[in-house]
Structures are given as structure tokens and as C-alpha cells.
Symmetry: D2
Subunit: 152 residues, 4 copies
């Protein structure tokens, strides 16, 4: 597994600050669990408001957690004057998202100057036992010289 | 463009009923705009609670709308005793999701007995002008002999 | 459907020259059938040397045609001093690649300065009848200031 | 990492026999390097006939190796009366495919009865040093009761 040297030593504070400004994460109740260079974990406790018709967490929520964890895993390696944008992502669902909570774990596979390839897995934890519910592969882009604050 | 003969003439009622049981759609404020054989549209009005750090609708929400529209586009063609599950999806982001509302439009590309391939686009509407914000390609599975109600 | 203004009026000659230098295309017997701004078609006649174990054209060959058509569809819109690189692609197989020939048709969905999103379909033609065998969605990158010739 | 119990103890012979009938693999010069339950490696020595315009191995060939390795990794877990079909795959390119040879390594992530999710990496080996050139995520389908021989 690769180890990374972040361009910005303040990367954790920067990721936490950006995450805190994502209203969508507060709305679904997601929490930034850990931030390391090239690796981010996001957790979500089960909530009935996030379910699909079979009472499992909606697959779109699973994809959203994975997308966000990957974006921030990439962001940890970006310079202080850059912002992050999702180019594309792909999710395979392996099992229903059933359990007390979900954890999305993302890590950077290859940090290019402009494009960063990252992967993520999402696991569901039920009675202390983990089941992988999704596997994801994605491309994230560094926008150099663009602040991470609100646009426009 | 293909035209489809649905196996279940009551497909629209069935899709609307299933959508209504998806708590996650109510939570984000999404609305089933249209249901035709092999085609579904879901709309979402802009809400600050769904934004990312630049105040655009979160990409994960965009992916979620597309995923759901595709799942239900596939569901329109399934027999009355089947339920639907997302196998995988892929989203490319084309532009920030900026505007008064988003529309996810999905259509079935190929309806197999077990697997259905579907595509979706998500557009943002701002001052009456549409911009495509995402393109999606996905696989949906028919679970024959499985009710669409809550599991377990 | 979008219409594009290519940055380089000589785009067709440039695509044809680059394609001619792809030894892999000659090896599999593929032919550049048409080149328009933002759109490229590649054809391949059925050859037993390209089959998988069921005597259909190998899925990897189908993916390769689609990947290449998309790359060149994007290349038609690039300036004269840029070269093209595939970032990622996704293929869904809709039917076995059975017939006298395959045609991969690609078109640009969104031409960004750095990243270009393109889609492709691959059809098999059998007894004059077309069947779509694959749907593809991909990201292509423009390398500004990089010649299209051999590296190193 | 998961360990798998194959349904057919003769899985290696079956995979080798099927691979040997893939004319496309002989055409590109690929070799089945290893076959274990849920894991397959395919190797390819560099050949100028497989290059793109920059003299690297064509990205479509890289995708083809990964697709095939994944298909056979899944096939190792299938019962003796089943055949294998690629549903979809996604490839991210991490670096140019430059070196003396490529190795595609695939492993099953989740073996379902009908659908098998598998991942693959492709590495290029140059002067004894490995560089990952592609990451892949795919869905493979088991066709129960379908022989692996040529289709009629």
C-alpha cells in the first residue's frame, strides 16, 4: 500500500472544515470518522429517513458516502490553494446496506497532478460484524488556484 | 429509440407505490415526475440542506437521483411478482448542479430477463435553461418471485 | 444533439494520421470509418482470430473499439498542439458480438478544456440487421502542449 | 482477503481449456499465468503490434486483459455446468502501459449465485519494477446450465 506525502501539512483541518460546510452531510447525519494522508473514513448511523422500499439504507446514500469519502481522500493530498471536484464514480453493490451503521473507507490509488484515482469500500456493521456492501472506483480532479469556499 | 411492452399493465401504480415507501426520497424532497414504460423522471427542487461546500447540490445526491430513476425505469418492465435491485452504476459529472431544480431522466437500453441495462441523464434547470450535469450508465437486476415490500 | 466547433480545422487528417500509427488497430483489422467534429466511427469485420470461447468477438475487443472511437471523437475537438489520453471507460454488454462486422460509434457529450466526456455504442451487423452489443461512457483527457507522436 | 471454496474441483483445467479456445488471446499473445480459486493472472509480453500512437500497449488491450482475467477469476467458482459472461467493466488508467510485459491480476470480491463482482489490477513490469497501469471493477454473470463450448 502506498504512503503519501501531503502537499499541505494542514490537510486534516482543511478536510474537516470543508466537510463541515457540506450541508448534505449534516442532512443525512454523516460524520467524518478519520482523515489521514490519502485516506478518509465517513460513518453514518442507520436512520429510517434514509431507507428505500425494503427498509435498507438507500443505495444512492451508499454511493454518496463513497463518493464523498473518495473526494476527501483525494483532497488530503492537494495543495492549500486547490479545490476538489468529482469527475466520475462507479459503484458495485455487493449486499444490502443492513445494520446499525455504515462506514465508507476511501484511499487514493494514484495521485496525479490533475487527476487522482481513488477507491472506496462501504461496509455495513450489524451486531459488530462487518459486511462489505459496495465497492467503488473513481476519478477526482484538482482545481489548482481555486478556493474551496462557496462559488459565485 | 426502443418502445417497450410492460409485463405488468399496472406498472405506474406499482412504481408510485414503491417510490412512496422510499423514505430517502421524501427526506431529500424528490418527486416522481413521470412514469412511462421503460422511462422514469424524478425531480428535485434546490434545497440548501442538500449542498456541498460550493453551495451546489451534492454530487452524491445527483448520483442518487439518477440511480433511483434508472431503478424505477427498469421496474416498469418487470412482472408483478418481481422486485428490483441496483447492481451497479456509473456517473460522469458534466457541470456543477446549479439551478432551481434537477431532473433525472432514465430510460431502459436493454431489458433482459434478469439484467436490465439503463441510462440516465441529470439536468439542472436555471432561469428556464437546461444544462446536463450528469450522464449515467447502470445495471439493474430483476428478482423474480420477490415482493417489493419491506424485507425481514 | 450538440454541434461542435473544432479548434483545429485539420482535425480529420490528424485523427487519421494518429489512427494509422496505432499498430494495435492494424493487428485486429479495425478501420476508421468516419471522422466528424465530436464524432468518430470505427469498423471491424468479423475474424475468427478475435473470438472468445463461444466464437463471438471477444468482449475485450468490443471495449477496445469503443475506447478508441471515444478517444478519437474527443481528439477531433483538441487543438493542434495537444495529445489525447484515456482516463477511464465503462462498458455494459447488451448482447453477444455476433455478426459480419462491428461498428463502434462515439460522440462527445461535453468538451471541457481538460476533460472530455464521451459516450459510444457498439453495434453488430448480421444479415444487414443492427443489434446494439455495448454501451459505453468514458472520460478522455487533453494533454496540452504534448505532441501526438511516439514518446521517449 | 476472502478465501473461496470452488463448486467444481476441476476448475483450473476448465479455465485453461476455455482460455485455450479464446482465439483472441492467442492473437494478442496473452498467456494464462496462474489460476487459483477466485484469482487469475494473465500475462502479456510487449509486442509492437499491440501499441497505440505513443508506442505504449494500447489501453484497449489493457482493458481486454483485465476483463478476461476477471471473467476467469469468476469462472473458477462456477459449477461444472455453467458458463460465464461479462456484464460490464470499468477501467481507470493510472499510467502508460510501458515495459517488457503486463500482468493482469483479478480476484473475486463477492461471489453471488448469479452475479459475481470482481476487481483487477494491471501492472507493467519494466527493468524488474512494477507500475500499476490500470484498476478495474466489474460484474460477471453465471449462466447456469449453459455449456462453455461454441454457441450453435
Amino acid at each position: 500500500m502506498a504512503s503519501f506525502t501531503p502537499a499541505n501539512p494542514e490537510f486534516e483541518a482543511r478536510v474537516r472544515d470543508s466537510f463541515a460546510r457540506q450541508r448534505a452531510m449534516a442532512t443525512i447525519g454523516a460524520r467524518l470518522a478519520s482523515v489521514r494522508a490519502g485516506e478518509v473514513e465517513i460513518e453514518l448511523a442507520y436512520r429510517e429517513e434514509l431507507t428505500q422500499q425494503h427498509r435498507f439504507i438507500h443505495g444512492g446514500i451508499v454511493g454518496m458516502l463513497a463518493d464523498n469519502a473518495r473526494g476527501y481522500a483525494a483532497f488530503t493530498l492537494m495543495p492549500a490553494d486547490a479545490s476538489v471536484v468529482s469527475v466520475e464514480y462507479k459503484v458495485n453493490f455487493l449486499a444490502p446496506a443492513e445494520g446499525e451503521r455504515l462506514v465508507a473507507r476511501a484511499r487514493v490509488l494514484r495521485p496525479g497532478r490533475t487527476l487522482i484515482v481513488a477507491e472506496a469500500e462501504v461496509v455495513a456493521i450489524k451486531d459488530g460484524r462487518e459486511t462489505q456492501v459496495a465497492a467503488c472506483l473513481a476519478t477526482v480532479m484538482t482545481l489548482h488556484g481555486r478556493d474551496d469556499g462557496p462559488r459565485g
